[in-house]
Point group: D2
Chain length 173, copies 4
């Protein structure tokens, strides 16, 4: 029996909305992502505000490439939580195994949309794990966020890159 496509694909607006829903359901608020962006930029951009960070986080999540990575990564986390992945993939994701780098591969797909300048910020917060990243990395609550913690870091770093581009343009106008 052949798997059927739906008659029409989801609209761009629907895909976007579902991403926002999934983030919420996985316990991540846009404000928490914006706090990471604030953390990354506060020393470089003295007059930065949480609202400005939130604005750029929202804009990043408007991009279809970002949505594709989010949907795919969260799907993997959810399947691992339900033990529905095949072995050895199931164990690699649950364990957040160091040699399994597909979570970083998806994050890179997000970062690349805003150029390479977000790369080092991403690496930095992934290692330091401020704010929401610490909670997502806590392995003791039964939730699995192997993909989501990297994706959240990538969105925050992308928002920081977007903010830097924007600031330069504003200064020049």
């Amino acid at each position: 029996m052949k798997v059927q496509m739906k008659e029409v694909p989801a609209t761009e607006r629907e895909v976007h909305q579902i991403c926002l829903d999934w983030l919420k359901r996985r316990g991540v608020s846009l404000n928490e992502i914006a706090e990471l962006t604030f953390y990354l930029q506060k020393d470089l951009v003295p007059d930065i505000t949480p609202e400005e960070c939130l604005h750029h986080v929202k804009q990043v999540i408007e991009k279809r490439e970002v949505q594709n990575a989010l949907l795919t990564g969260i799907q993997m986390d959810v399947l691992a939580e339900r033990e529905q992945l095949l072995e050895p993939l199931q164990d690699m994701v649950v364990r957040d195994e160091c040699l399994y780098g597909i979570d970083e591969v998806l994050s890179l797909a997000i970062l690349n949309v805003y150029g390479s300048i977000g790369l080092t910020n991403y690496g930095f917060i992934d290692r330091v794990k401020p704010g929401v990243l610490a909670r997502l990395n806590n392995k003791n609550d039964g939730e699995i966020h192997t993909f989501l913690d990297d994706l959240v870091g990538a969105i925050a770093a992308s928002a920081a890159a977007r903010l830097a581009h924007n600031r330069k343009k504003q200064q020049e106008e």
Copy 2:
């Protein structure tokens, strides 16, 4: 209830073997991948043999990064066939939607291991669809290979890049 890790992670040898099994079960032989490599290189490397191509395909699949991409991509295809992905992801994968590029993102993770020189070969066979790629793209048999067709193309192009590097070294010895 917390999802448990296995006591020990799969060994590198086990991960490799499971990749070979999954490829076989999804109907792709290493010889068919090697034929793509042969197709790509036959005009550039006059004395190339199918055996040499097969050797490099095998070597590419020894790499853990390649295995990670293969396991993740095939898993996505299988879940889509069983209609176990959440919407709108399920429909995007079944439809092989043009704006969903995570299959290319995983392929890029394979290609990058052998440098950027495999990039254009990958793009070329993905568009021309010779050999096994035509079969994997046939949407009429109920099987879903949205990820696998790209991954197979990436392995073949990577094997071609590996072969080119090797040939240069051999000539110089």
Copy 3:
């Protein structure tokens, strides 16, 4: 003696204008790049027009990441023409050596801004070399376009990806 920075960095508008100038001086018109985009999309988007392709090419070149890659790549070509690169880099660039893939690395930086969906189009035209790409690849006129031919292909493929994203949004409004 220390190399001095200029008092203020170039504005975004200046960087953009210089990219357009450099393209022109290296003999590439935006219309020629748009023709590549048209070539890539004409069978997929029946009512596509050259003007629409040109619009998206122009938008791609507005991105700072694209400008960075263009400036760096054209600079390398110019230095190679003047024999001002150090060996063995000078010879690698003049020869467009197959194992030197930094031209593809810079192209990838362009493609990634529009997601992975431009990847296969880029690979395809890089191999088939339609239109302006054939001229840039002609090694008999003393000009060196080792970087520029790849960058032009990447801009055309990115414009095609941008066009595809846009069309979907328009249809849904």
Copy 4:
């Protein structure tokens, strides 16, 4: 007058040797790079030795993709020191302008050879700037290392990734 290719391209061995020479001439020793790798891994791999780190650094520099990125990046630094780049590129490189990300693009080409697992280590040391990275970033001595500091970080992080892969294999044998 047409720029001539050399009769034969540089051998792989020659390209490798010239990379080692250029690193030395730019004031970076392999031991200093190995110290960065040690810094990154010492808490994760308790019995790690400086010699083991040095071994993996040397192996990373054997890869042609790494050599291509090194030669191109160091060439850019040297040209900027001699004020031989065209504006606005000259100023972007001297200034190490935050919106110019081609140095990170080349670093990514190195990191990708060892998969995405080196990404976060790279980002981390690029921000913390331990050891040799602090010296390369010192803008007061008239030397320009806009590219080299990123490339050195990428080699160190790649060596750490290579070491992690190797350790797992050794444990299993």
